[in-house]
């Protein structure tokens, strides 16, 4: 493919430019994949070097350090305490005590059970005297997996802290040797609101994210490699255990007999749902975007009165929780709902329109309803941006005789697209996972008979995310299959983001806006 120089590129028309960008992206894919492997190799190499360097440093610290430093290898924070850094020393020591205590009391058990996910399931016993059955519960696979993961996180944190402890002792020793004064606890506290202020600010949010986002995601990924479902819940019914890649094989196999519901393989079902999910995300994002912009422009137009009233009316949809408004809208469009009733009483139709019964009708109706929900948000967002567009641009365009459409396509739209590019991407991906709208409006209906199987009913308006939910709520509660779907959703979203990031370079330049 021909490569253009910067000058040649600038001469191209808009369409050609975009085409060129897409082409160069596609052509670069093999190279990029190769690059990925190279990067991966480099990463591994760097990691090895890092570990080696760290090990050498640790050893040399031990060999050359004084007794205080040496003892700190065993008793964390000892050196700090001995050198008068009471606060740091106590924190290190406390952490070590907590860690050892935890490992002895619980962590060791969870870790040892992790490879098997439990050995003894529940057993039912019969009490002859009382003529009653009772249950003796034993190992809990769920907890083993959960706390096993947590313990591993904890061990990583401990190793890191231990390393920091060693490094700090080394530093402190050097500082004392060179005759300078060590930082006191007071200095430490002051640095927390000054040069280390970012660490203070991030501590709480990041802890929350680690415990309540990262850990569950790790757990979710691991579930995809187990047989965790309703009949193997790990405690009350049966233990669950590792099954390797079986679940991926079930989900990604195109062969009907080895994975799927008997009529259509899961892979085909996944493909069907994915294509609708992408279609939905595309329409949901762009219809809202353009219509929202249009409404905002209409309200902002010079000479339009009662601007605040119009906005408030629209904003009501944001203020009222969706579980109320969407459920009502869903009922409105029912076969015997008020929309059909109104149209029939006006004599415009003789037969109820199949808003939720026909696949195409249902898909269009959800997109239209989504416009109803989305326009207010977009209206609010674009209102501000439209005001930010320098008015002299329009002024000069008007002098040049540009009509309204030309002003829009030459000034407003490019400006908007430039400013809201990243927003469009995030709203595309979040629309892919727009659970509420689909679940509350249609619940996936109308049913797609071929795709429905033992893993739950699949409908023509089901998105991957609602399918995933249905799998967990289905008769067999196949969490493992839902987890596989979850991972695949991630892969798809990540791929799309990657492509968009590469095609639209402006998104990457964060500092441009400052």
């Amino acid at each position: 493919m021909k490569k253009y120089s910067d000058l040649e590129f600038l001469k191209l028309s808009k369409g050609q430019k975009l085409l060129y960008k897409v082409k160069s992206f596609v052509c670069a894919i093999p190279q990029k994949i190769l690059g990925l492997f190279v990067a991966l190799w480099n990463l591994i190499k760097n990691a090895c070097t890092l570990v080696k360097n760290e090990a050498v440093d640790i050893c040399s610290t031990f060999v050359h350090g004084d007794w205080k430093t040496k003892l700190s290898f065993l008793v964390m924070g000892f050196g700090n305490l001995a050198r008068g850094q009471i606060l740091r020393g106590l924190l290190f020591l406390l952490f070590e005590v907590v860690f050892i205590g935890y490992m002895i009391l619980a962590g060791g058990y969870w870790l040892s059970m992790l490879p098997s996910l439990g050995k003894v399931g529940p057993s039912e016993e019969y009490d002859f005297v009382l003529d009653a059955y009772y249950t003796v519960y034993n190992d809990n696979s769920f907890k083993i997996l959960l706390y096993g993961v947590l313990t591993i996180f904890f061990i990583i944190a401990f190793v890191y802290t231990w390393r920091v402890n060693v490094r700090q002792n080394k530093l402190a020793e050097q500082i004392i040797k060179s005759g300078k004064k060590l930082k006191s606890g007071k200095d430490d506290l002051r640095s927390m609101v000054d040069d280390k202020f970012h660490a203070t600010l991030l501590a709480l949010p990041l802890t929350g994210i680690t415990v309540f986002t990262i850990m569950p995601i790790v757990f979710m990924i691991l579930v995809a490699f187990t047989n965790y479902d309703g009949a193997h819940d790990g405690y009350y019914s049966n233990l669950f255990t590792w099954v390797g890649l079986d679940n991926f094989n079930t989900m990604l196999n195109w062969n009907v007999s080895s994975g799927g519901g008997g009529v259509q393989s899961y892979a085909a079902t996944f493909g069907e749902i994915l294509s609708w999910t992408l279609m939905w995300a595309f329409f949901a994002t762009f219809t809202n975007y353009f219509l929202g912009m249009f409404v905002a422009m209409a309200i902002n137009k010079k000479g339009i009165k009662l601007k605040k009233l119009w906005r408030t009316v629209l904003v009501l949809t944001i203020a009222i929780p969706q579980f109320i408004s969407l459920l009502y809208v869903s009922k409105m469009f029912a076969k015997n709902g008020i929309v059909n009733g109104f149209l029939m009483s006006m004599g415009w139709i003789t037969e109820a329109l199949p808003f939720w019964e026909d696949p195409t009708w249902a898909r269009v109706t959800v997109i239209i309803t989504n416009i109803w929900i989305g326009i207010p948000y977009l209206m609010l967002i674009t209102t501000g941006i439209l005001m930010n567009i320098p008015q002299d641009l329009y002024e000069s365009a008007r002098i040049d005789g540009a009509n309204a459409w030309q002003q829009y396509s030459k000034i407003t739209l490019p400006y908007m697209l430039f400013v809201t590019g990243p927003y469009l991407l995030t709203s595309f991906t979040s629309n892919m996972n727009n659970f509420n709208v689909i679940y509350l409006l249609t619940g996936g209906a109308p049913t797609n008979p071929a795709a429905s199987s033992a893993a739950g009913t699949v409908g023509y308006t089901d998105l991957l995310i609602t399918w995933l939910f249905k799998i967990t709520q289905g008769a067999e509660s196949q969490y493992y299959l839902a987890s596989v779907v979850g991972i695949l959703v991630f892969v798809v979203v990540a791929l799309i983001s990657l492509v968009v990031y590469n095609v639209l370079p402006s998104i990457k330049n964060e500092e441009d806006f400052q």
């Binding site: 009490d127 005297v129 009382l130 003529d131 309703g230 033992a454």
Partner: protein, 507 residues
């Protein structure tokens, strides 16, 4: 630290458990949670209060009664058994799921005998998996029939589906019959033409066989009947009584909607058994499910508490409480004595159920996934354009059942070891699809085998379970420690397994 405290607490609890379990007396105060439908909350509270005062065992329940609908209860229990209600109500379609999830405690011997003696036989059978009883029947009215608006449907038309559809279309009124979103309503049509879907479970709730004849000439007739309905522009796939207030003239639903519909239609309310339809000149009556609601006990770790909670469950599902429920909520009793009460017999909804009775089948254990698989038949039929399309809908259904059963109970197989037990290999393994199997037994020195769940050799079935056809097999006595079925001579045999009973027929 938290962990440590929790461990300590657990140890103390375990100790106190051991201490109390020694005594056989049930007297004491127990904290329990009871899940019932919202409508029944107040009544249940009063009933538990009464139990506390009247029982002779000294049991006092400190009960929290929560409103959890029968449909939600099963899903919630399966998500987390521990947090679920100690006593909870559910409809019979959830039974198998709950047993599999370990969410139901078995009934004691005496309790099971009482249930079998006092309740309607079908209802009692619905609470059993294999030979084990897992729940207490609560109602026997979980079936459906037809409500109609007399001002739209003349009384002489209520027997004919075609006439009703024509009336609805003429009046621009809806015919609400949940044919597209619920297997429970849809499957009735198939039962009406003589199709069956019979599933058998073992004592632990595992499905061991299925006999399903939806994909048959009779099934095709049912499909044609359904087609008439779902292709009508006035068909509404709903089973909500309040549809009468939004343009429906007919709603197929159950007794629970009686009061609502009565309030909407007033004097125009009509009830009847389901209508018949005509295919190829022959008339077929629409069938239905005869379902039950039950009350289950969550498995307890403490035998004493378990025994006490079972006492309460027995009381709450007994004659007295069922009568109270009928009086307050019109729930049809499963208790035989209560069901014979005059007031019960006079209730119009229950009377219509009774009229539908001959065309209904009792709802036994059905695989949870079947509900998802069967309900799409309705949509498939609606999409079909000709008879081949209808047949394709049934073929699809069959393929899915087949895939499901293979998935779930590839477990169930006949392992034959024609050349000696140690030579068993895959070639000698026969998979059960359905409950019958045709075996080709070759001439060899050890023509034996048995029905096993791989990985659980303890639960397999063999010689000891053969109830008919013993003449074809050898009784090896003490020489048969493995419970093997050893054929006396080579040939072609049909082996049928029905829960615990094996029948052998020579072909």
């Amino acid at each position: 630290m938290k962990k440590f405290l929790a461990l300590m607490l657990a140890a103390i609890m375990a100790f106190s458990m051991v201490a109390t379990a020694g005594a056989a007396s049930l007297a004491g105060t127990y904290d329990i949670t009871v899940w019932v439908a919202e409508l029944a909350v107040d009544l249940t509270k009063a009933q538990i209060e009464k139990f506390n005062q009247t029982n002779e065992l000294g049991i006092v329940f400190n009960a929290t009664v929560e409103a959890v609908s029968e449909a939600d209860a099963a899903t919630q229990m399966i998500t987390d058994v521990e947090a679920g209600g100690d006593l909870y109500c559910f409809a019979s379609d959830q039974f198998a799921r709950l047993v599999q999830a370990g969410a139901l405690a078995k009934l004691g011997v005496k309790a099971a005998e009482t249930v079998a003696a006092e309740h309607n036989a079908d209802a009692a059978a619905a609470t059993m998996s294999g030979d084990t009883m897992y729940a207490y029947p609560l109602t026997a009215d979980n079936g459906y029939f037809m409500y109609y608006d007399k001002s739209v449907i003349p009384e002489e038309h209520v027997d004919s589906l075609e006439a009703i559809i024509a009336d609805c279309e003429a009046a621009q009124k809806y015919f609400a019959y949940e044919m597209q979103t619920s297997a429970w309503y849809l499957a009735g049509a198939f039962f009406g033409t003589g199709c069956v879907s019979e599933w058998t479970t073992d004592d632990e709730g595992n499905f061991i066989s299925v006999r399903d004849t939806f994909n048959s000439p009779e099934g095709l007739i049912a499909a044609k009947g359904i087609e008439k309905l779902v292709k009508s522009p006035m068909h509404l796939s709903s089973s909500s009584g309040s549809e009468f207030a939004s343009g429906a003239a007919v709603v197929v639903t159950g007794t629970w909607d009686y009061e609502t519909i009565k309030a909407i239609l007033g004097d125009n309310l009509g009830v009847a058994d389901l209508p018949s339809y005509e295919v190829d000149g022959k008339s077929y009556h629409l069938g239905s499910f005869r379902g039950y609601k039950m009350m289950g006990v969550k498995p307890q770790v403490d035998a004493v508490k378990a025994a006490a909670v079972h006492q309460l469950a027995q009381y709450l599902t007994g004659e007295e409480c069922q009568m109270e429920r009928f009086e307050a909520l019109s729930w049809g009793p499963s208790n035989v004595k209560a069901a014979e009460n005059e007031a019960v017999l006079a209730h119009p909804g229950l009377a219509a159920l009774k009229a539908q009775h001959p065309y209904s089948v009792p709802q036994g254990q059905i695989h949870g996934s079947w509900w998802d698989i069967a309900k799409v038949i309705g949509d498939d039929i609606k999409l079909a354009t000709d008879e081949a399309g209808l047949q394709a809908a049934l073929d699809n259904y069959y393929a899915k059942i087949d895939a499901l059963f293979q998935l779930d109970t590839s477990a169930l197989l006949f392992v034959g070891a024609w050349n000696g037990w140690n030579n068993a290999d895959d070639a000698d393994t026969y998979y059960f699809k359905g409950s019958t199997l045709t075996l080709d037994v070759p001439e060899s020195d050890y023509m034996g085998g048995r029905i096993v769940n791989p990985g659980s050799w303890g639960t397999d079935k063999g010689f000891a379970q053969v109830v008919s056809g013993a003449e074809y097999i050898k009784d090896l006595g003490a020489d048969n420690p493995d419970n093997n079925i050893v054929f006396a001579e080579a040939g072609n045999y049909t082996v049928t397994i029905n829960s615990n009973e094996i029948t052998i027929v020579k072909n």
